[in-house]
Structures are given as structure tokens and as C-alpha cells.
């Protein structure tokens, strides 16, 4: 097996797929890239058993077919130090030696048998659902929701993003039970209703490779696995099994108290005031009266406190509600509209935060934040 490849081109592909490799692998072979050459196409695979990412390179100068596993770290460390130049890979499949030759030198590595690399799961034909989504939709759906996913070993379903497909729209939902994001797009559709829960790691991998994608993405899934087909990459990942909690029932529908405020101002004020909140609880209080919101925080242990007033449009009763400042800041930084609307019912019920103006016609973003119980 022999091929010639550009050093920087190869490094680019390897770095993208190497994000799959986890630092604590249960199988030593997973510290390798699987190189498979067939005709003039080189497939490079990395896997952590849960997620597998495959990239394809078309090479002009390649002979023979076959596959070999090459240690990932040593290969990347070598390639990082090369300027752009052609490298020749000569692989002896019987001795498993890999010789990389440049203009001035030779680098010899020992690989492992390609057949030892774990089998990549396939989507079962009989259970398969498929749809095509624009890369922009998929990228926004993941970027807007991933921050709200949980890290809860006891409730694995919350550690992923729920993707719901219906004939009307595609919805992405993420929640850690304190905050919830529902991102809906009417420009993505499926023929029938279906859903799956995408774990956080493959979602992050997908987010990374989607930024360079222009063509539509092919999505296939069955009960256990999902497949995302991009022009240069293929991602296959195990889905989170179980039922996502019924998120629609926790979104309050009757919120008589409505506030509209400049997002950037609100964000900056929170950033300043939250410095004075207790570091363990991060509690900030929002006091709403007339057309004014007072944001306050204090840390009794250090005798520090702060408040700041902010002009806003407010319709509703006078009220005081407490939120964890880090959550509120995260939510505001994941919205992009100039003004946001905060809809509340009472200090023990969730607040809804939505953009005050629609920016993209097809987009519907809703963020939900549970308050902290303040006792006056």
C-alpha cells in the first residue's frame, strides 16, 4: 500500500477526526487512526466506540488497497512540524511498518492490523428514517442549544440534544432542568414524525465540521444510531436511549408580566452586578416596577453588595424574582436580537426569554429559566 499526500492537507483531516479520540480509551486500538485505501480514495477513521468520524481524501497517486491502524498522537505530532510538502506513505501490510518519506528524511512507525479496529455500526435498513437538512439549520440548532445540556449521570437523556422532526418543522431541545432551550425551524421538514437524542460529544463534533459545510446534510437514524453524511465527513454515533421528559408541559403559557429590555445592556449590567453575588449561589434579584428593573446582588459573607437600575418596557404587577446569574448570562449570550422579552408569571415559576424581534423568518427560539426561591 502506497500513496502520496500533501502534509498540511492530511493534517487538516486528521485534526478534525482526532477530536473523537478520547483521552481515556478502553481499547488501545482506539488511540489509532484507521487508514483504508481503495482505488484512489483514502478513508481515515477515528472512534471512541460511541462516536465514529470518517473523513475521505481523494488521492491522485495511490496504489494497492488495504487498511492499517496508525498511532494517532505520533502521526499528528510529526505532521504538525512539516511545512506544506508532499509525503510518501509506504505501508507493508504484512510487517505493519509505516514509512513516511519526505524530501530529506524518513519516519518509521509500526501500525496495527486494520481488521483489529472495531466495526462501525450501520443503520438498520428496516428501521431507518432519513431526511436532508441544510448545514446552517443543523449548525444553528446545535449551537443554540448545546450550552443548556446537562451533565447528569443519573439522567443520561438530559445530557443530549433532542431533535424532533415533524412534517411542519424541526425542533432542537436541550435542558438541564434549570434552563431549557427550544429552537424550532420551519424550513426543515420530515415526512413523518420522529425524534432522537443526540449526545453532547457527537453534537460538538458535528458543530465543528459543519462550519465548513456548504451542501445539504443527509441524516439517517434508527433506534440506536444516527448517521450524518457531509461532503468530506461521515459521523456515526450511538444515540441516548430513553424518553426525553415532556418539555412542552413545563413551558408556562399564562405569563401576564412582560418585560422588554435591551439585550446587551441587560447582559452588561448582569455581568457587573453578579460580581457581588454569593459565589456559591450566584443569586441575582430582579425587581420590576413601572418602567424600571433593579438588578441587585449581595454576598453577606464578605459584606459586598451592588444594584443597578435599567430602563425597560414593563407591563404587569410589581414583582421580585431571583435567578442564578450564570444561567441568565448564558441565555442572553446565546440570543442575538437587539432586545429580549422576559415573560413571567410569579416568583416560583419559570421565566420565558425570547427575542423581542424576529430576525430570521423561519426561526423560533424560546429559552426558559427556573428561578431561585427567594424568601423575604
Amino acid at each position: 500500500m502506497k500513496f502520496v499526500v500533501s502534509s498540511t492537507d492530511l493534517l487538516g483531516h486528521l485534526q478534525a477526526v482526532s477530536r473523537v479520540i478520547s483521552s481515556k480509551n478502553s481499547l488501545p486500538i482506539l488511540d489509532n487512526f484507521l487508514f483504508s485505501l481503495q482505488d484512489h480514495s483514502l478513508e481515515i477513521t477515528a472512534s471512541d466506540l460511541e462516536s465514529t468520524l470518517i473523513t475521505v481524501m481523494n488521492l491522485e497517486n495511490a496504489t494497492d488497497t488495504g487498511s492499517i491502524a496508525i498511532p494517532a498522537k505520533i502521526l499528528i505530532d510529526t505532521l504538525k512540524e512539516f511545512p506544506e510538502l508532499p509525503l510518501t506513505f509506504e505501508i507493508n501490510l504484512s510487517t505493519l511498518s509505516v514509512v513516511i518519506s519526505s524530501e530529506n528524511g524518513k519516519f518509521t512507525i509500526v501500525g496495527q492490523k486494520g481488521s483489529d479496529f472495531p466495526q462501525i455500526p450501520v443503520i438498520k435498513k428496516e428501521q431507518k428514517s432519513e431526511l436532508t437538512l441544510s448545514p446552517d439549520l443543523l449548525l444553528s440548532g446545535i449551537s443554540k442549544t448545546i450550552f443548556a445540556t446537562a451533565d447528569d449521570e443519573l439522567r443520561p437523556v438530559m445530557n443530549g440534544i433532542l431533535m424532533e422532526m415533524t412534517p411542519e418543522h424541526v425542533t432542537f431541545v436541550a435542558s438541564d432542568a434549570h434552563k431549557l432551550v427550544r429552537y424550532r425551524r420551519t424550513d426543515g421538514k420530515a415526512e413523518t414524525g420522529s425524534s432522537f437524542i443526540l449526545p453532547k460529544k457527537p453534537a460538538a463534533l458535528l458543530k465543528n465540521i459543519l462550519s465548513r459545510q456548504e451542501e445539504d446534510v443527509k441524516v439517517e437514524f434508527d433506534e440506536r444510531n444516527a448517521y450524518f453524511g457531509l461532503s468530506q465527513y461521515r459521523l456515526i454515533c450511538r444515540l441516548v436511549e430513553g424518553n426525553y421528559p415532556s418539555y412542552n408541559s413545563v413551558i408556562p403559557t399564562n405569563n401576564p408580566n412582560k418585560l422588554i429590555v435591551n439585550r446587551q445592556q441587560f447582559y452588561n449590567t448582569l455581568k457587573r452586578v453578579s460580581v457581588y453575588s454569593n459565589q456559591a449561589s450566584n443569586l441575582v434579584k430582579l425587581q420590576l416596577t413601572g418602567n424600571q428593573m433593579t438588578i441587585s446582588a449581595q454576598d453577606i459573607d464578605f459584606s459586598i453588595s451592588a444594584y443597578e437600575r435599567l430602563q425597560c418596557q414593563y407591563e404587569g404587577d410589581e414583582m421580585e424574582i431571583g435567578f442564578k446569574s450564570v444561567f441568565l448570562i448564558e441565555i442572553l449570550s446565546n440570543l442575538s436580537s437587539e432586545e429580549v422579552s422576559l415573560e413571567l408569571s410569579d416568583p416560583t415559576r419559570a421565566g420565558i426569554i425570547v427575542p423581542a424581534q424576529t430576525e430570521v423568518e423561519e426561526e423560533d427560539v424560546l429559552m426558559l429559566l427556573m428561578p431561585m426561591m427567594i424568601n423575604n
Binding site: 434549570h178 421528559p245 456559591a280 449561589s281 442564578k324 416560583t348 426561591m373
Partner: protein, 392 residues
């Protein structure tokens, strides 16, 4: 210049620490309220046979009674003593009175227990003279509260505390730097605060009886015999103690336990008791704006075997979550099918904060209920409203 001077003072350990200890505090308080108790042996503690002595007068001590002794034994030793149930609330009130007087005058004080205070009076000699100042403070306390109090004044907390022990009852003892070793040397090792019954016996078996002998032991040997404690004890015997007077220490946990009148096997009753305990502690946490992330349940069986089991949970101060965890731990822990003497529950790893509500687990009605119950309790007392599950 002043800085330099202070630094060198610290280096030579030229501190002045005052240790104030109220003499037979509980008894003194009782005598304040009932003059006829004066001059008589008085014993305070739980009155049932299972209670222990919480405090006793010097007259009772002559009979061999001491605190933490089982009440049953105290009765045998000194049957003519006056036994009093004790009123913790009253003692706390008097203790706060003393603390208040100290807080008004002292630059830095530490309340070590209900009847003990440490005051860092370093540097005060330049203005008043530490001993004069301490005397005046003591006289003020006696005059204003009517409670006898003793003090020890020395270079650190340990020596001051030992000095107070020697000053009692109703006396004072000043041990300046150069007198520390001559003062400690002839005393029994028992006088060192860290040495309890077991350590005392261990050291005696090694032939160590006085502090003078103890401090001449090689510290390496002490460490070999007793680990890190050995080194600490050796340092104390040499009058070395760098621990500062700490003004305020945060409560690290909240706990409660109950010893039954009779060993019991009535599990449903114990579960109801645990529900009531959790309810009380959780209310206290909400009032103090604290959240816990660790629940510990304790069982002591009739044969004194004590078992505990703990569990880490996400931060909370809600009864319903804590009750479930506590009862689950209790059921897991109670395996022996023998009678139980004591049950207890502790919430630790406390942080300051208020409950972050959970959208899937906390119904808004539940949060509203807690707010309403806590309002009632604040207004009408902690027992104003309770969960039915804590009662038959």
C-alpha cells in the same frame, strides 16, 4: 517602624492570649435564679437514668461526680445532691450576655463554647497592660452578670487554657513567656487539653506522668506512637501552639439526634421521628439560607454499635427531597434486627444559597407551599405547621 516591631513580636511568639472560662456555668446560672442552691452539691443533666451529667458544682465534684458521667452513677456517688433538669435556652441567654460584654471591649475574640472565650490581647500591654485590662474585664463580667469567671493569661491558647484550669475556681493566673515552662513542668499530663482518658493511660503506661517528662521525649517517638496527634501533644507540652484566635467560624453542618428512653424496635415511629428531624433541620437551613449536599443517617444499637451511612445529593434545602434520602438511608442502614438506642441525621457540605428550582421535579405549587409554611413558622414558631407524615 511599627511594622518591624510587630513582626519581631510575632516571631518570638510574643502573643498574649486570654482564656476566660465561666466556673461551673450551668450551676452558676441556676444559683442566680435560686439562691438556696448555694453551697450545696448541684448536678445538672438529663434526669432519666440514661441521661448524662452536663454540669455539677464543686461540692458535687468532691463526691467524684464529673461531667459526661452517666446520671445513674452520679446518683450512686452523691445521693444528697440536688438534681436539676437544666434549661439550655436560659444558659444560652446568659452565655450571650457574657459574649456581648466581651465583644464590646475585646479587639478579637473567639467563642470556643457556651462558657469559654479566647481573646487575643497581643499588643495591648503598650496601652493598658494585658493583665490589668483582663482583670478589669473579669470584674465587669462578674459585676454585670453575677456569674463567677476565671481566666488564664499567657502566650497562646493552650497555655492560657491550662492556666485557667489552675486558676479555678473563681481565680486568675498569669503565665508570662519566661514562666511558661516552669509553670507547665510539674503539672500532670492530664492537664493538656488534647489528652483524654485513653491517651492518658497510654502515656502513663510509657512512664510519662508530668509535662516535664513528656516534653523531653523525642518528638519522633511521640509521632511513632500516636501519629500526628503525638507531635501536637508534644508541642503543647513544650508550650508551643500557633493556632490563632478565630473570630468566627462557619457552621459546617446541621445535625440532630435522639436517644430513646428505652431501646426500641418500633421502626415506623423512628421513621416518623426522622421526618420530623428533617423538617426541623431543613427549615433551619432555609432560614439561614444554606443548602446541603450530603445527608448522613446514624443508628446506635442497644449494644452501642454505631453505624452511619451517607449520600451525596445535588444541593437542596427542600424537606421532600431530604426526607426521601434520609428514609432510604435509614432503611438501608437498619439491617441488624436488634433494638435501637439512638437515631440521628446530619446535613453537611453546607453552602450559602437559596434553592434553584427544577422544572421537572419541583412543581410551582410545592415552592409556594414552602414559602407559605416558612412564613407561618417565622411568625408563630417552628412548630406552627408540620407534615402529617411525621405524626401518627
Amino acid at each position: 517602624m511599627i511594622f518591624l516591631q510587630e513582626n519581631s513580636e510575632m516571631e518570638y511568639g510574643n502573643r498574649s492570649v486570654l482564656h476566660l472560662d465561666l466556673d461551673t456555668f450551668f450551676v452558676s446560672v441556676e444559683r442566680l435564679h435560686n439562691r438556696s442552691l448555694e453551697g450545696k452539691p448541684v448536678i445538672i443533666g438529663g434526669l432519666s437514668d440514661r441521661g448524662v451529667v452536663a454540669g455539677c458544682s464543686y461540692e458535687a465534684r468532691r463526691f467524684g461526680v464529673h461531667s459526661a458521667m452517666p446520671m445513674k452513677m452520679a446518683r450512686l456517688l452523691c445521693s444528697e445532691a440536688l438534681f436539676i433538669r437544666g434549661d439550655m435556652e436560659r444558659y444560652t441567654r446568659h452565655s450571650e450576655e457574657v459574649t456581648h460584654l466581651i465583644a464590646e471591649r475585646a479587639p478579637l475574640y473567639e467563642k470556643a463554647s457556651i462558657d469559654e472565650h479566647y481573646i487575643d490581647v497581643s499588643g495591648m500591654d503598650r496601652f493598658f497592660g494585658c493583665l490589668r485590662w483582663s482583670r478589669e474585664l473579669r470584674e465587669t463580667i462578674i459585676r454585670k452578670t453575677g456569674l463567677p469567671i476565671s481566666f488564664g493569661l499567657s502566650v497562646n491558647k493552650t497555655v492560657s487554657k491550662i492556666a485557667t484550669g489552675e486558676a479555678k475556681p473563681n481565680g486568675i493566673r498569669n503565665v508570662p513567656g519566661e514562666r511558661v515552662q516552669p509553670f507547665l513542668d510539674p503539672l500532670s499530663i492530664r492537664k493538656i487539653p488534647m489528652i483524654g482518658e485513653k491517651t492518658f493511660r497510654l502515656l502513663r503506661s510509657m512512664g510519662i506522668s508530668t509535662i516535664a517528662i513528656l516534653r523531653q521525649m523525642p518528638p519522633e517517638m511521640m509521632e511513632k506512637v500516636m501519629g500526628k496527634n503525638g507531635t501536637d501533644i508534644w508541642k503543647k507540652a513544650n508550650g508551643i501552639d500557633n493556632s490563632p484566635v478565630v473570630a468566627f467560624s462557619e457552621r459546617k453542618s446541621l445535625s440532630t439526634e435522639r436517644t430513646f428512653e428505652r431501646d426500641s424496635i418500633d421502626i415506623p415511629a423512628m421513621e416518623r421521628l426522622l421526618v420530623r428531624m428533617v423538617e426541623k433541620l431543613a427549615f433551619e437551613m432555609r432560614i439561614r439560607q444554606r443548602l446541603t449536599s450530603c445527608v448522613t443517617v446514624k443508628i446506635r444499637y442497644a449494644n452501642f454499635d454505631t453505624h452511619t451511612l451517607q449520600k451525596r445529593i445535588p444541593y437542596t434545602s427542600f424537606d421532600h427531597i431530604l426526607t426521601d434520602v434520609t428514609l432510604a438511608l435509614f432503611r438501608q442502614l437498619y439491617r441488624r434486627r436488634i433494638r435501637i438506642r439512638l437515631v440521628g441525621v446530619r446535613f453537611s457540605h453546607l453552602v450559602q444559597g437559596v434553592q434553584q428550582l427544577n422544572m421537572f421535579d419541583d412543581r410551582p405549587e410545592a415552592a409556594g407551599l414552602y414559602l407559605a409554611m416558612d412564613r407561618l413558622r417565622r411568625r408563630y414558631g417552628p412548630d406552627a405547621v408540620r407534615r402529617a407524615s411525621g405524626w401518627k
